[in-house]
């Protein structure tokens, strides 16, 4: 056995494990911190609720564009006899929190983090808009399918999309060639 190589591999593995645990620890700490910020009443009342109201308004416009008689009041959307209230957990903020925590926990430059998060946030909101519009449509036309679509299918799909966005972004960070003189020198 080549002890020198074995030693080098085991050192590389353990440093890889340390980085992995480090990422996970930072991710959990950031997620809890972001949760406290979002759950804090002034932030919830002055940022999250108006943002959710905006989602409801845009969704109402999209629903009317496809011929649904949607009426929006605050965070509530009514279409015919069916109505939904967009609450926390349905506004894409939870997936955005995950993305923000993961992007910040991952070793990358601040500019890459900012661009990654902003593009990811926009993409998540587009998918969430499709989710809200489709759920209102399902609730009105296929009410038997609403519960499973709402709880399991769409929630999982939006979160998986957020995770995929993060993995795509993270893989681009690891593939980026060394550009700075220090990186080129392998320091």
């Amino acid at each position: 056995m080549n002890w020198k190589i074995f030693g080098r591999e085991s050192t590389a593995n353990s440093s890889q494990q340390q980085r992995s645990f480090g990422f996970l620890l930072r991710f959990v700490i950031l997620l809890v911190a972001f949760y406290f910020i979002v759950a804090w009443k002034p932030i919830n009342d002055h940022v999250i609720v108006p943002f959710t109201t905006g989602i409801a308004a845009v969704s109402g416009t999209a629903l009317r564009a496809i011929g649904e008689p949607a009426v929006v009041a605050g965070t509530e959307i009514k279409s015919g006899t069916f109505g939904v209230n967009i609450e926390n957990g349905c506004n894409g903020v939870e997936t955005a929190l995950l993305l923000a925590a993961a992007v910040l926990a991952f070793p990358a430059g601040w500019r890459q983090r900012l661009v990654g998060f902003l593009l990811g946030f926009a993409a998540i909101q587009v998918l969430n808009l499709i989710r809200v519009v489709s759920l209102v449509w399902i609730g009105r036309h296929r009410p038997a399918l609403f519960d499973s679509s709402h709880t399991v299918i769409w929630q999982s799909a939006v979160v998986l999309f957020g995770v995929l966005l993060f993995l795509f972004w993270a893989s681009r960070q690891t593939r980026r060639p060394a550009t700075s003189p220090e990186e080129k020198a392998g320091r």
């Binding site: 890889q16 992995s20 990422f23 996970l24 991710f27 959990v28 997620l31 809890v32 972001f34 949760y35 979002v38 759950a39 926390n88 957990g89 939870e94 997936t95 929190l97 995950l98 925590a101 993961a102 499973s148 709880t151 399991v152 299918i153 929630q155 999982s156 799909a157 979160v159 998986l160 995770v163 995929l164 993995l167 795509f168 993270a170 893989s171 690891t174 593939r175």
Partner: protein, 195 residues
Amino acid sequence: MLDRGAVIRLVAGFLLALGFWFLFSGTYEAAVAPAAEVLIRLGESPAMTRLEAPGKEFLLKRADFPPGAKQPGLPSPDLHFNFVLLAALFALHRRPWRTDRVVKLLLAMLCLYAVHVVFLVFEVESLYSTRFGDWSAAHYGRFARNFWAGGFHFYQIAGRFAAPFAIWWLFGRDDPVQASEQVRGPRKRKKRRSP
């Protein structure tokens, strides 16, 4: 890690997991409820709580509820649908059926089971501490109310989505650098041409 095949595997894994979840969620709930019940009763003197899983909800039965009183039901899919996320993430791997991957998936599922049991305890205690008026105020202080209700709210907003990701990161993820090298194949050294 994220080639077109990976996305197809993720979607296929998601659909398979969804089918599995719809078929076996009732059986799974029957395994989560007793474990949570044991933990809740550990903190009670005398032990009063009984949890049943008749399907789609956890029924909370207390021995000291008045006869004929309505038994609170806690919706169960919200607690454990994140199994679908975990299984879909494991399907990202190029060969998810390999024995070592299946073992890792089983270990990850065991971790997620522990998460479900713990947060079912949080859900029940959150109900006890905030929804029973004077009884809640008499049995739970301000810190306890915030601890149980805040813990369960964290799970609802962020934890239930973060748990499968964190568990997958720990057990099932390929290192992004290694994975990208697997996709590209081993590097070949360019031969130097003599001038």
